[in-house]
Symmetry: C3
């Protein structure tokens, strides 16, 4: 029986890079799934949507059902191997910070560990500035520090509902190797 | 069907002023209710109290029932229009920070958005000093910053239990217009 | 009927010292129980373990049952007098911050107040350095400040699930008397 590790990090934290580098540093077998993709597959199978963008058009109650089913799917996948769930503590929207792991998702997924990949606010602002593939976010360092604060509080509340631990992995510039080793150790657990 | 927006802010944040200024800037129809008043009306109707001060004398279990009924009343009001609930994330008491939105209230209200009106700790301390109508609070800027930290964590935990977003609106001195526009946008949402 | 007060504080906060000093300053009758000890007694009675170290070897589901029973035991003890529960918001482990008060424990204990004994990060680092009886923790002041942030968020989420207040008691060097008086006032409450 594997563990369920939820991997989070704000845009620019380098979460995906760290996960990739960790995979090269461990012999532990594990799969990475993106929560949004599991949700989309579930909604497509139920013939509720054809395209991913339609997910957010679903009525609120339908969205929650799909979130819950996606969570249960992930919990069942973890019966045979460790699953790392790529997702967000919160997503910054025009209406505020939207929780990526509401209560009904947490109770379905039953995570063992909630990871937050962090870097300094200055480094994240600089990485976002260099990334031409994304719409440049106009958040300054203070906004990024606030998003970190909200996500730490968020992960902490998630841990109370599930018993999961909260682990912060620092991914500082030029120290990817240290972050990848921390991540590999958590996965090997 | 309207939204339920919970509007919070510590004393001196200017929450009520921002709500009033937002009302002048939008054509969206919405009502503002004070959570404590809805609770009092509910308890009076049930013949449990005659005066508002008696609310806190009720046995704990009775208080919770009234809180839950008040939450359900607000959720039902939101069937016809958007409701802004004027309340607090936490109230500072001699026994510590008392949660204004415990789990049973959140599950009854089912909010869409939890707003926090904030200002800098220095501005809040200065506004409280000028306000002769209130008992002057002896909190210094560090205490105010801590109350902000507790309230952000509080709103974040509320969002996990409900799926609501957490939106921080800054109400800096001489920038009421910006705060009112932010508030109006959230209400129009 | 007594109150249930949960007393928390990271290693070096001086929680136990403050509790002892508070006992000397009040005539209020109260008992202090250590959550881990109540759990161990419960597991021993159920013939699940003989030694305390075996507790963490129990299957996860069994551990949760014991935690829940220990919480219910504490709630029943509080029928006759005020109980102070000596425990942790979170325990720092190699897998991250482990919650000491997950949802099922909170719902069983039904606390009235969650106390956090804090000191400055510099003082805590210095106290830990002087303590030869413990394995010296290699946390620096930034790590300690982060642990404080996590524990405040943790206690805040606990308060939403239970309605308990969150009270921070500062135990600065050479000011034990002030901390003990704050603690005694909360217990007398």
């Amino acid at each position: 029986m594997g563990k369920v590790i939820i991997a989070t990090g704000i845009p620019g934290s380098g979460k995906t890079t760290v996960l990739g580098a960790a995979k090269e540093r461990t012999n532990e077998k594990f799969s990475v799934v993106t929560f949004g993709t599991v949700m989309f597959d579930m909604a497509k199978k139920k013939k509720l949507v054809k395209h991913r963008d339609e997910l957010r058009m679903l009525p609120r109650q339908k969205q929650r059902e799909i979130q819950k089913l996606a969570g249960e799917k992930i919990a069942s996948m973890a019966k045979s191997e460790t699953i790392v769930v790529d997702t967000h503590c919160t997503i910054k929207t025009s209406s505020g910070y939207l929780p990526g792991l509401p209560e009904w998702v947490l109770h379905a997924i039953k995570p063992d560990i909630i990871l937050i990949v962090e870097s300094s606010a200055a480094e994240i602002a600089s990485r976002r500035g260099r990334d031409d593939s994304r719409v440049r976010d106009d958040e300054d360092e203070e906004d990024i520090a606030l998003h970190h604060e909200i996500n730490r509080a968020n992960a902490t509340a998630c841990s109370i509902l599930t018993g999961a631990t909260v682990k912060i992995i620092y991914n500082y510039d030029n120290h990817l190797d240290a972050a990848a080793r921390d991540m590999a150790e958590i996965i090997e657990g």
